[in-house]
């Protein structure tokens, strides 16, 4: 008994330091770090996800249904991550990033795993397409129209060549240099735990063609900043071999390069960019070399980035542009940091930590740093009240396009000049009922809002009504109509190709579309949009609408 007690005591003694050490090593939650963004959609049985919005060199922790399943180190702050588990339908995926001893909150929007799309037979995956032309000496084949999470197999002259998995609707497969006359086909497959594997048909054959007689001159993406370990090269021939050179009066050495993954590609450089050198790039297809790019000298400090307006009240994403490749970008509200991610040489979408949202009237600014050097702050952008558009009928009532834009265009505040139809842009159809017109609009990106009629961030409120049948005149005369709330708190509408107005059929200003006179009364025909369907929010940055009526 005594020996047993001593053993327990010894175990506790051993355990205490371990518990202490574990606690000491746990990163501390820090809401100045951006929660990473999980790419949507993720399909059932996927073992791969895509992410963005993390800082350079961060550690990414992956959670499925709230439990951590994987962690890995990222260089760029975005990309693809292989999982140790296959995801199930309905699983919810979030991410956190760890920078030094600090950890972000979970992704602001969790992504729920959904079933993959299938072809018209409903028994196969859609058939992928090889991006053409394939050119001899390319070291890359891009396959498009892939299903996110599927494994794509590439066949060369009928025999398997290589395969890979991608969380994007395309995949870049590295291959040995292509040879003229070889033919490539691709197919994709994705396991489904319940139904077994789903496969696609083989794609059409793509044949490798002879390379061109000359290659375009590449461009070093500016600015280069001293101390940076990355360089983006533009104007590339996809699949070409790229070399980045550093030269001064006495030396010309290759400091980075690789295969061009796209017409713009970011490469690591070592040693880091040096103020005393200038940098240029060359691209090759086998022995065929392009002209050298114009040389670029690094600058001492990164320039200030810019914030893309508008930023709206209660929003929790912000887009920062003019970023330096693989820099660290920080966003501040009235001087307090609220987000931190890597720059990508263009615009990056950043999430605010935890429950932070943009308060109305506050000033938002951003800066970026490379190595130890920081840029000045960007110009301020003030957080706007909300996304409701101003009542500006002149914008819509111009004779050149008044009849080309309808109530759906006006409601969404998006001019397309082709009489936009709910669902047309997203391939959804509808019949004459409220639910079908509404869900077609939802597939265009509108979101149903609750009975409090509140829209968050830069979205604005619209209302859908339907005249279900031949209300006054016989014949197939149903119609739908949209109202929108303007920034003055009242409602306005544009009945078809006629002028936008803030008045209802009785000539009253519209304060409530549910109680407004929703008829259209004329000498020739009358509509009564008697069915009130509901309220929706429109985020113009997300919603995509189109139609098929000509305007000329």
């Amino acid at each position: 008994m005594a020996i047993f007690r001593i053993r327990i005591f010894a175990m506790l003694l051993l355990a205490f330091p371990l518990i202490f050490l574990t606690t000491a090593c746990d990163p501390v939650q820090d809401d100045t770090l951006s929660p990473p963004i999980v790419r949507d959609p993720i399909h059932s049985c996927s073992e791969i996800i895509a992410y963005s919005g993390a800082d350079r060199d961060a550690e990414i922790w992956i959670y499925v249904n709230g439990s951590k399943v994987h962690e890995f180190k990222t260089w760029m702050g975005w990309g693809a991550a292989k999982l140790p588990v296959k995801l199930d339908l309905g699983d919810k995926v979030t991410l956190r990033q760890v920078v030094h001893d600090r950890i972000s909150s979970h992704s602001r929007d969790e992504v729920t795993v959904v079933d993959p799309p299938r072809d018209h037979t409903n028994e196969r995956l859609t058939t992928p397409k090889i991006k053409e032309p394939l050119i001899e000496c390319q070291k890359l084949v891009i396959v498009e129209e892939t299903v996110e999470g599927a494994t794509t197999e590439l066949n060369k002259n009928g025999a398997p060549e290589t395969s890979g998995m991608s969380p994007y609707p395309h995949i870049r497969l590295g291959v040995p240099e292509l040879r003229t006359g070889d033919g490539y086909k691709a197919r994709q497959r994705l396991c489904l735990k319940s139904d077994g594997d789903l496969e696609s048909l083989l794609s059409d054959k793509a044949e490798v063609q002879a390379k061109p007689s000359e290659l375009p001159k590449p461009t070093i993406h500016e600015p280069l900043v001293q101390g940076s370990d990355a360089c983006q090269v533009d104007d590339l021939f996809v699949g070409a071999r790229v070399e980045i050179h550093a030269k001064d009066d006495s030396n010309d050495v290759v400091v980075g390069g690789g295969t061009a993954q796209g017409s713009s590609t970011i490469f690591g450089v070592s040693p880091v960019l040096d103020l005393s050198k200038e940098y240029y790039a060359v691209q090759y297809l086998c022995e065929l070399a392009s002209p050298e790019s114009d040389p670029v000298k690094p600058q001492e400090d990164p320039p200030a980035p810019t914030i893309q307006p508008p930023i709206c009240k209660d929003g929790f994403y912000v887009t920062v542009c003019d970023t330096v490749v693989i820099s660290t970008v920080r966003v501040f509200i009235d001087g307090v940091q609220v987000a931190q991610t890597a720059g990508n040489g263009g615009c990056v979408r950043m999430a605010l930590g935890n429950a932070t949202t943009f308060p109305e009237g506050k000033k938002v600014a951003a800066s970026q740093s490379v190595d130890t050097r920081s840029s000045p702050l960007s110009a301020d952008v003030e957080v706007e009240a909300d996304g409701s558009p101003p009542y500006d009928p002149g914008k819509w009532n111009h004779a050149d396009w008044i009849h080309c834009n309808n109530c759906y265009n006006y409601g969404c505040d998006i001019r397309t000049d082709n009489f936009a139809q709910p669902g047309h842009a997203s391939g959804a159809s509808h019949s004459r009922t409220c639910p079908t017109v509404g869900s077609a609009a939802e597939s265009d990106g509108l979101t149903v809002t609750d009975i409090e009629k509140k829209c968050w961030g830069c979205t604005h409120l619209v209302a859908l009504v339907v005249d279900p049948l031949e209300s006054s005149v016989p014949g197939d005369r149903w119609d739908y109509h949209w109202y929108r709330m303007d920034d003055n708190g009242r409602w306005s509408h544009k009945p078809g190709g006629t002028p936008a107005t803030e008045r209802d059929a009785s000539g009253n200003l519209i304060t409530n579309p549910e109680t407004a006179d929703r008829r259209s009364i004329g000498a020739d025909y009358t509509y009564d949009y008697s069915l009130f369907c509901g309220y929706y929010c429109v985020d113009k940055g997300v919603v995509s609408i189109s139609g098929y009526r000509s305007c000329d």
């Binding site: 019949s431 004459r432 149903w478 000498a523 020739d524 949009y529 000509s550």
Partner: protein, 164 residues
């Protein structure tokens, strides 16, 4: 037994009626645009696509040009465009594509027309006596199965003097 037969009959009738229900909206294609012609759009719906057709026949285009020219200019003050530029008035928009000597756009309802010449900064022209033009377009609309929008017009038209 007779109850069963009646039930079967009801079910069969219901099935037959279901087949008559309109199917979901499937997206039509944009009308193929000719190199030259006039696109006619009937202002009929707020949301749904308005009826449209092209006039490309040379004789019809000639007649159309003649009827547009024959409309009588009128001062804007005597012309209440706001009254009929609304849903409920079966007006037509004419859009000229590539035809010389024709205005860029014409908006016509019954005997009134608004003409957008297409010349830079030129204000629209207002015209009366456009009924023959409207008559021609109504006829075309009805040939395109758009009868329902013109019942009141036909009643009104009977009381109007005949214009050749």
């Amino acid at each position: 037994m007779s109850v069963k037969i009646r039930m079967i009959k009801i079910l069969l009738l219901a099935a037959a009626l279901l087949t008559l229900l309109p199917a979901g909206q499937t997206w039509a294609q944009a009308l193929p645009a000719p190199e030259k012609g006039v696109l006619v759009t009937l202002s009929a719906y707020s949301g749904r696509p308005n009826p449209q057709w092209w006039i490309t026949d040379q004789d019809q285009l000639g007649r159309l040009a003649e009827l547009i020219k024959s409309a009588k200019p009128s001062p804007e003050k005597s012309f209440d465009y706001n009254k009929w530029n609304r849903l409920g008035f079966a007006s037509f928009w004419l859009n000229n594509k590539g035809l010389e000597g024709m205005p860029k756009k014409v908006h016509v309802w019954r005997d009134q027309a608004v003409i957008v010449t297409g010349q830079k900064d030129a204000p629209p022209l207002y015209a009366n006596e456009a009924l023959p033009l409207y008559d021609m377009l109504v006829k075309q609309a009805e040939e395109h199965d758009q009868h329902n929008f013109f019942r009141n017009y036909h009643k009104w038209r009977k009381d109007q003097p005949t214009v050749k």
